[in-house]
């Protein structure tokens, strides 16, 4: 008999009050008066009365909680809602409870026995609520893709004596069979197979293979030559291995005249050219070949970096998508070389305004509703919170960027910096090599049906057919245990010869990639640890269940490794051997379920020639769905004003400029004790564009991180968009004290409709800029990732088909090492009387600026033409400036510095002054550059500019240090709170206070 234990708070519970406020923010007709909650554990195992009592004691804090087998409802409530997980969804709380009972009661849970957690909310309204209100509350509490909700009115609750018992046990028909797939099909049927997946016996489909017709034909030819049909395992494996997600086909394959494709020509090509030019000063150690890229930290350590995206899963389950995004990229760090230790997490979200009420549906019948913009934001923010905080990795640098075109698919960026000794047991740590005869060992989590088809479905746009099983919930603690055991212990004992992470494509990708080193493998899937019985071989092989690493272990080391992992509570199993047979073989028990030549598996994919087309008018085409519709009315907005005070305050309240402290504060950014410049700077708690960390506590060296993106420019000029992103990321790092000669870059291309030649043209332009500007700055790319189909295809509230494509987005991340972290410069002004300088020329181009967007003129190409185009980047001039700036920093000449970016000079000025708690007097008179009107000087986002404050006693030395660059004094830091700006005619055009500006800066997101 299963039993239930309810844990309820015996003291006032903060969670209840917070929930109540949340419900009342949903726009209910009747307000919620009170909320109380209970945590429920369903123990699916026979326990006697004594054991149950002890179980309650183990699960409740005697001082603050009560444990009971009966749910104790409050005296008055209208509604009880129980939220639990669907069968098979990772239930971390249930898992911990099970472990607690197992250890505390000294009982063993059989594989089929388990503990399941759920939570009951009792809700009392001010008066009897209507059905609509109750539905709103229920829907706000759960995500139907992963969770279940049971609702009872108080009368039913009382009548039934509580909530109904639900045991969310996975029940799979035990049909662990392998089927052959017939490819003797018409082209149309083949296309359906590629798009919808292998047909089950009942006529349903398994989910997308994302194999195009020419791929399927190549597969058919291979098997025709073999004289047999492929098994489902083989077809699924090829689909994973050849997917855009894994092989990056769009970047790899020829494009127009570029026979080597844009990746080899522009991205890798840039790095090769830079390394050659740097010669002995080359700091790259491992680029593009491993799970992360690595550069030199010092003579003893390497520092690694990798940024990933987890977009499609986050659209469906924002929390799960985001938590697996961050713990997933942590594994890219653990999977670098012999295993790097994660030391910093970074994040970024591209979202729609949380107030955006657009309703979207995945199906015509409007049964599958997409989550609201607000839910997506809350979910992705909470996901990084859970994943980063629980893993003990400081999450410091991050950004949030809003555009209505992210309503269909949000972008979730997650990155991890790692540290690894250069030498481990006499081996170079960045070189790994599995050897024939090595055991294939999986460590960490178990395999379930979760995360099936993640890789193939990321290679498609999001629509009705996107499988719900493609999302997983992370289990950060299982990964933390594994991570500690591997990179803090097993690695340094030299117990394994190679390691990689089990991510997209699951075992099929991880084992397949490692087997390339030896030239073959033989695996038996029956040996793989499963979460529950009944999984078919193809599912075991491609499942993307989280928290797993694959190791290559010399047979003699296995006993030692096994015992170490066991002692650390980490599950591991031998599932096969690496061979040099030239074949990938997979068995399930006695049966061979996959038998492919390694060469075909990895190189059999047909190469596609891609053709691009310069668009005629992409801008108007792609704007139909957005708020930019307002353009017409906004044309009359006057740009020439006598007073810009209000505009400045409004601008720093824009979502893309304002503070997002609610995120920064809920992410632990100080764990590991390396924090030097934190993500919130100064008295004013301004969100910084760059952070500095000391990853090795015994070394003074610091790691500078920054990033930038400019989706607002993509449709106007994708080449300049990429150039601006690169200059922005570099400039933010330089302003913080980084050396331009010691910066590496990472690229994350997130595109939409990448089979459209016009989108490909934009892509090619952006990639070309990557080459041009990376080489001009001498900043090599060391790692990257792309995500090519960020389109939503579904239905609007009125049932009409709708497609929302993200604006092409390139996130550039910069990483650099500085010799002395104490030289880092924060953005806040330090003292009244200091001089304020603008370094670099101000270009009057306003195209794509936040100011125009605020006035509703953002993407009007005609207008952009009239009032100045998209500003360009002059890398040679900027390089000189950045180099001299670094030297000035080393001489302690700079008191504060900030990169002038979104919102232009006005925004940078406000952040600097209000950030330090000062006012200031500033004049635009003779401000160098080609600007004409005041609004250009204030709000142009032209590149290559830094705003700095300098002790006036050091002004002469500073100006001398910046010789032959544009270094112009615009004013001084003031004692009181007044910030005054005057124009070239000495007229005051803005008068605001630091206090007021700070309020405006913090206001928009303060209630989240």
């Amino acid at each position: 008999m299963p039993s239930r234990i309810y844990i309820q708070s015996a003291i006032p519970d903060a969670r209840s009050g917070v929930k109540k406020d949340y419900f009342n923010s949903l726009g209910l007709r009747i307000r919620v008066k009170s909320v109380s909650l209970a945590d429920c554990y369903v123990i699916d195992k026979e326990l006697n009365g004594e054991q149950l009592k002890k179980a309650g004691q183990l699960l409740a804090n005697p001082l603050t909680e009560t444990a009971a087998e009966k749910l104790c409802a409050p005296e008055n409530f209208h509604l009880a809602v129980e939220i639990g997980f669907l069968p098979g969804v990772t239930d971390n709380v249930g898992g911990t409870a099970r472990e607690t009972l197992d250890d505390g009661l000294k009982i063993k849970f059989a594989p089929a026995e388990n503990v399941y957690s759920s939570r009951v909310f009792f809700i009392a309204f001010e008066k009897k609520p209507g059905a609509e209100d109750m539905e709103k509350i229920k829907m706000s509490l759960f995500n139907p893709l992963i969770e279940r909700a049971a609702v009872k009115l108080s009368v039913d609750f009382k009548k039934d004596g509580g909530m109904d018992l639900v045991i969310p046990k996975v029940k799979l028909e035990a049909k662990a069979e392998v089927v052959e797939v017939n490819l003797e099909l018409s082209d149309r049927e083949l296309e359906a197979l590629g798009k919808l997946g292998i047909e089950n016996k009942d006529g349903t489909r398994r989910g997308p293979l994302s194999l195009s017709l020419d791929y399927l034909k190549a597969i058919k030819k291979y098997f025709d030559e073999q004289g047999r049909k492929p098994t489902d395992v083989e077809l699924e494996t090829l689909a994973q291995t050849w997917s855009e997600h894994c092989k990056h086909t769009i970047f790899a394959d020829p494009m127009d005249e570029l026979e080597r494709g844009i990746y080899k020509t522009y991205i890798k090509g840039a790095t090769e050219a830079i390394r050659k030019k740097k010669g002995k000063k080359d700091f790259c150690v491992s680029v593009f070949t491993d799970n992360s890229g690595a550069i030199a930290f010092d003579e003893n350590y390497l520092i690694t970096h990798k940024v990933e995206t987890h977009n499609t899963p986050s659209a469906l389950d924002p929390f799960g998508g985001s938590v697996t995004g961050i713990v997933g990229v942590n594994r890219d760090c653990l999977g670098f070389g012999l295993g790097a230790k994660p030391v910093i997490n970074v994040y970024g979200f591209c979202l729609a305004d949380p107030e955006d009420g657009t309703e979207l549906f995945r199906d015509k019948e409007k049964k599958q509703k997409m989550l609201s913009a607000r839910r997506i934001m809350e979910g992705v923010v909470a996901g990084i919170n859970a994943g980063g905080n629980q893993s003990g990795i400081p999450t410091n640098l991050g950004f949030i960027y809003f555009d209505p075109r992210f309503r269909g698919k949000p972008l979730v960026f997650a990155g991890t910096v790692g540290i690894i000794p250069r030498q481990i047991k006499g081996r170079s740590s960045h070189i790994k090599k599995s050897k024939p005869g090595d055991l294939i060992v999986t460590a960490g989590g178990r395999i379930g049906a979760d995360g099936i088809h993640g890789a193939t479905f990321s290679s498609e746009s999001l629509d009705t057919h996107s499988p719900a099983t493609a999302v997983q919930i992370g289990d950060p603690i299982t990964q933390k245990k594994m991570s500690d055991a591997l990179v803090k212990e097993a690695r340094d004992l030299g117990l394994y010869s190679s390691i990689t992470d089990c991510g997209a494509g699951g075992l099929s990708s991880a084992v397949g990639e490692m087997a390339e080193a030896t030239g073959g493998c033989i695996v038996n899937l029956e040996k793989a640890p499963l979460k529950y019985p009944g999984l078919a071989p193809w599912q075991i092989w491609i499942s993307e269940s989280q928290e797993r690493m694959v190791l290559s272990v010399p047979e003699k080391n296995w006993p030692a490794l096994r015992s170490l992992l066991e002692n650390r509570g980490v599950e591991a199993a031998v599932i096969g051997k690496f061979t040099d047979s030239g074949k990938a073989s997979v068995e399930f028990g006695e049966e061979t379920v996959l038998d492919l030549e390694m060469d075909f598996l990895h190189n059999g994919r047909p190469i596609k020639s891609q053709t691009t087309k310069k668009p005629d008018d992409l801008v108007t085409q792609n704007l139909a769905l957005t708020q930019w519709k307002k353009i017409e009315g906004a044309r009359t907005q006057p740009l020439l004003k006598k007073d810009y005070s209000k505009d400045i305050l409004n601008l720093i309240s824009k979502l893309n400029i304002c503070g997002f402290e609610f995120i920064t504060r809920q992410y632990d950014h100080e764990v590991q004790a390396g924090s030097v410049l934190k993500p919130l700077a100064g008295r004013g708690r301004i969100n910084a564009q760059a952070t500095v960390t000391r990853p090795v506590l015994s070394s003074k060296k610091g790691v500078v991180l920054s990033s930038d993106l400019y989706p607002a420019l993509s449709e106007l000029d994708p080449y300049k968009m990429a150039a601006t992103s690169i200059d922005g990321a570099i400039r933010a790092a330089v302003a913080t004290g980084a050396d331009i000669d010691n910066l590496a870059l990472l690229d994350n291309f997130c595109w939409s409709s990448s089979d459209d030649p016009e989108r490909l043209w934009q892509l090619k332009e952006a990639a070309r800029a990557c080459y041009d500007f990376a080489t001009a700055y001498g900043a090599p790319f060391i790692s990257g990732k792309d995500s090519m189909f960020n389109d939503f295809k579904g239905f609007s509230a009125d049932g009409k088909p709708i497609k929302i494509s993200i604006p092409p987005t390139l996130l550039i991340s910069a990483i650099g090492v500085i010799p002395d972290a104490y030289r880092a410069i924060s953005l806040d002004a330090k003292a009244a009387g200091d001089y304020i300088y603008v370094l670099g020329d101000t270009d009057g181009g306003m195209g794509g600026s936040e100011y125009l967007a605020m006035l509703g003129l953002g993407l009007d190409p005609g207008l952009a033409e009239k009032i100045g185009k998209v500003p360009g980047v002059d890398p040679n001039k900027n390089y000189q400036l950045y180099k001299l700036f670094y030297q000035a920093v080393q001489k302690n000449l700079i008191a504060s510095a900030i990169s002038i970016s979104r919102g232009g000079l006005a925004s940078a000025l406000v952040k600097t002054l209000a950030g330090g708690g000062f006012g200031g007097d500033v004049s635009l008179k003779e401000l160098p550059g080609n600007w004409k009107e005041n609004y250009q000087a204030l709000f142009s986002e032209s590149n290559g500019r830094i705003l700095a404050t300098v002790d006036k006693k050091k002004a002469a030395e500073f100006e001398k240090a910046m010789v032959n660059t544009t270094c112009f004094r615009i004013g001084r830091v003031g004692k009181n709170s007044d910030i005054k700006i005057s124009d070239k005619k000495n007229k005051i055009i803005s008068r605001i206070t630091a206090v007021g500006a700070l309020k405006a800066y913090k206001n928009p997101l303060k209630d989240f």
Binding site: N92, V93, A673, S675
Partner: protein, 256 residues
């Protein structure tokens, strides 16, 4: 002089063991990080150490309540060893999750409940020293960071009266330098009577929500760039240590 030996627990999601060990070593201790399972299996013995630190972290992901599952493990397997340790003239510190664990094991009274806004929070706080403890010798006030989701100290009337009688309320959140600098409220989580840390066993067992190891360097404080600029302008050297370092030094000096 032989250096006092410090054992720092690890495993199951504790995650501040390395920097805590670094702080003790910097204070001239001899720190060793020991996985809890090595104690459970008897490969390591608690009695061989002078100082026990239960560091911060996220043991068991806070599932079933912060510190609860780890404390259950300690109670199930190491109860006698812990009792033996605490009765000797030795020192114990529980930082953040470590504090939660110490209260869940019963080594310190009271409990840590969900923050008043039910959300994880990372920020700096100002602290007034209100109790007596070897850990806090010579310290009057401190500024340190907190980072937790369940840090609201709770005690019933009896416990509270006992703490007061024993002079065991060690740290209280107050409005000080950092709150003034960043315009923050004093009590970050709604803790009863602003309690940030308490002691037991005559001050030898110390539990606190703030992280002294995250305040061990000068560059840890949020206002260090301002202080740096002042020092540079005054022609002075930058210090290396931050306010948290004295806590670790005190512990080591206790044995000298």
């Amino acid at each position: 002089m032989t250096k006092p030996k410090v054992i720092i627990f690890s495993g199951y999601g504790l995650n501040c063991e390395e920097e805590t060990a670094y702080a003790f070593n910097l204070a001239s201790g001899k720190a060793e990080i020991v996985h809890i399972n090595d104690l459970v299996a008897g490969r390591k013995k608690l009695k061989n150490y002078e100082i026990l630190a239960v560091p911060g972290g996220f043991s068991y992901g806070d599932d079933t309540g912060s510190g609860k599952a780890y404390a259950n493990k300690l109670k199930n397997h190491l109860k006698e060893e812990l009792n033996g340790f605490v009765l000797k003239d030795k020192l114990i510190i529980g930082i953040c999750n470590g504090f939660q664990i110490l209260t869940q094991t019963g080594l310190l009274p009271g409990a840590l409940a969900a923050n008043k806004n039910a959300r994880y929070l990372d920020r700096w706080v100002d602290l007034k020293i209100t109790g007596e403890s070897p850990w806090l010798k010579g310290i009057k006030s401190l500024s340190l960071p907190i980072a937790h989701g369940e840090g609201k100290y709770f005690a019933d009337k009896n416990i509270l009266a006992g703490l007061k009688k024993e002079n065991s309320i060690a740290l209280k959140y107050v409005k000080g330098e950092i709150c003034d600098y960043q315009d923050l409220e004093a009590n970050p989580n709604g803790a009863m009577e602003d309690i940030a840390g308490i002691t037991g066993y005559g001050g030898r067992v110390f539990g606190l929500m703030p992280h002294p190891e995250r305040g061990m360097f000068f560059h840890h404080s949020p206002d260090w760039p301002v202080e740096k600029e002042k020092l540079i302008r005054a022609g002075k050297q930058l210090p290396e240590s931050g306010p948290g370092m004295q806590v670790f030094k005190n512990a080591i000096e206790y044995f000298s």
